[in-house]
Symmetry: C2
């Protein structure tokens, strides 16, 4: 393609507002055309999308039926009317599930300077999930060497990074996941001290007691509901809970009740919710820290690269159903 050319532009669109569990048929592939040129004086940029993250938050980003899905991705700048971006730059941030996107507020994007790691990493360990893990674990939980850390949904994009950060800090780390395969990978590939399949535990509080006979100092909360209740019973005094997501609650019309909050008082627990956007200022510090450990082989990361935008909807459904093993990333185009 050349600048200014009119090209066809495949998109993944939500048909309507989604009620109940997301189904593949809630999404549809449509094709429009796009002019590969940024309007003059628009301060916008035009990008070719390369990778799109399959993310549990995608559903939340649904804004209006008939519009393409929005989510995190990696893209290459094809044309720019913004002084900070030029043709050929790589960027990551919120983009659209389509081949070409006009981004009207490129200030919200991060420019990619380090291209000696796979670019797809910027949808994961070097992108929003990595920064979420970093901000939630280091900023909210103030970990100390030797502390006991529990991560729920530990195989998720954020959880597996939190567990590895905790090991780098000298903590004892246990993760929960929803399949034996994931449990094995957490222990053998991601170096968690222990991991368990929560679906096989009748009594989550007893399971946690088994892995944490002396209690939990830090809980990286990704699920909510019954697991949070079980954790509250097993927290130590002055424990910290960083609440990053409550994925088990996403598809419930009425959220499960949490019954053991009384423990917050008796155990002087601090529980804090956070949204990664508030921590963007940490990105340069996070990037230096994480890149170094990746290059030294001390941080492991796996992805499941899915070729083609048209495979996006089914990948998203598998993610929500807990059927993905590697972090799913959709490759829309080659660099």
């Amino acid at each position: 393609m050349t600048k200014g050319e009119e090209v066809s532009n495949k998109q993944v669109v939500f048909r309507d507002y989604v009620h109940g569990p997301l189904k593949e048929t809630d999404m549809v592939l449509s094709t429009s055309t796009t002019h590969l040129k940024v309007p003059q004086d628009s301060k916008a940029i035009l990008v070719k999308n390369i990778y799109l993250a399959c993310d549990p938050r995608t559903k939340i980003l649904l804004i209006e039926p008939g519009l393409a899905i929005r989510g995190f991705g990696v893209a290459k700048v094809l044309d720019s009317d913004h002084p900070d971006f030029k043709e050929g730059d790589f960027v990551w941030g919120i983009t659209t599930w389509e081949e070409y996107s006009l981004i009207k507020t490129p200030e919200s994007l991060f420019k990619i300077h380090n291209t000696d790691v796979p670019l797809s990493y910027y949808t994961g360990i070097l992108g929003m999930p990595g920064l979420s893990a970093y901000a939630g674990f280091f900023e909210l939980c103030s970990p100390k060497k030797g502390e006991y850390v529990f991560v729920s949904s530990a195989y998720g994009g954020v959880g597996q990074i939190v567990g590895q950060f905790a090991k780098l800090m000298g903590c004892y780390v246990v993760g929960s996941a929803g399949s034996d395969d994931k449990v094995n990978l957490l222990k053998n590939k991601f170096r968690f001290d222990e991991a368990f399949n929560y679906k096989k535990e009748h009594d989550l509080a007893a399971a946690l007691k088994r892995y944490f006979p002396d209690g939990i100092d830090i809980y990286f909360e990704n699920v909510g509901g019954k697991m949070l209740d079980a954790v509250l019973l097993n927290m130590r005094h002055h424990g910290r809970i960083a609440a990053c997501g409550m994925i088990s609650q996403f598809n419930l019309e009425q959220h499960e009740g949490v019954h053991n909050l009384f423990n917050l008082i008796s155990k002087r627990i601090r529980m804090e919710g956070f949204v990664v956007h508030d921590h963007y200022h940490l990105y340069p510090k996070f990037l230096d820290f994480t890149l170094q450990y990746i290059k030294e082989g001390k941080l492991v990361y796996t992805e499941d690269i899915i070729e083609g935008l048209e495979k996006g909807p089914s990948a998203l459904i598998r993610l929500f159903a807990g059927q993905t093993v590697g972090k799913p990333v959709i490759r829309v185009s080659h660099e």
Copy 2:
């Protein structure tokens, strides 16, 4: 009495472990004898109890059936084998529901130096409830001028002080209470901007929306359960919740579920439980601050002095039933 004398010593004793709501018949008045002398080399002190606090936490302090109730009180030292205490000193801290107490670890007590305020205040505004209000509000909630503050169980010993601290800070303060009398006193005597009777509200979330159309920055949490759920829906971004007690949950075998914790994440809320013991180091700072405002008439405090240890059990029951208006204080003896 004289030092060394053997005297009769009335006590209030729990008959057995308490299951379900506390009843007056769970407690019994008994009489033993006490020698008014501290054993040599014991580092103990012997005190005459003057005031005993009627406190929602009293039930928690039940340690062993057949022993007297323990709780906060003000006492006068009659004999001391401890270098820091001498005959005639006034102290406050954990004592026993009886006329005379041998206190084996007097290091846990606070000496009273300021006696130009009623001594009974050291069971309340200058004691544990006051310090709870101070630590929870100032240390955990970091209030700023103009912020919106909600206090549940606002007429309680801690709540009415939190509300006044918030007004002194230039915040907008609303309290909830369980009777119209209390609501009137909160507004007219304790200078809350608004107050409401939660028992008359079918929809607590709607009630809060009425009083906080722009949302709540700080919630001083005294009750838990449904009120917490309603508050979570009405919190502002970056709100702070200090969890001091969940009195509505004390007598429930199965704690009510809290369903709206998802708001912690989307609104980046920090919720922290605390126990006043962890904040004893703040006592001198708190005392200076609070004494000054009391003397200037800018902090109001009311008590309901109940004469006689034998009235203690019925006062405690009325407190748990929400039937007390002033803070009940039992006068065991005169100074």
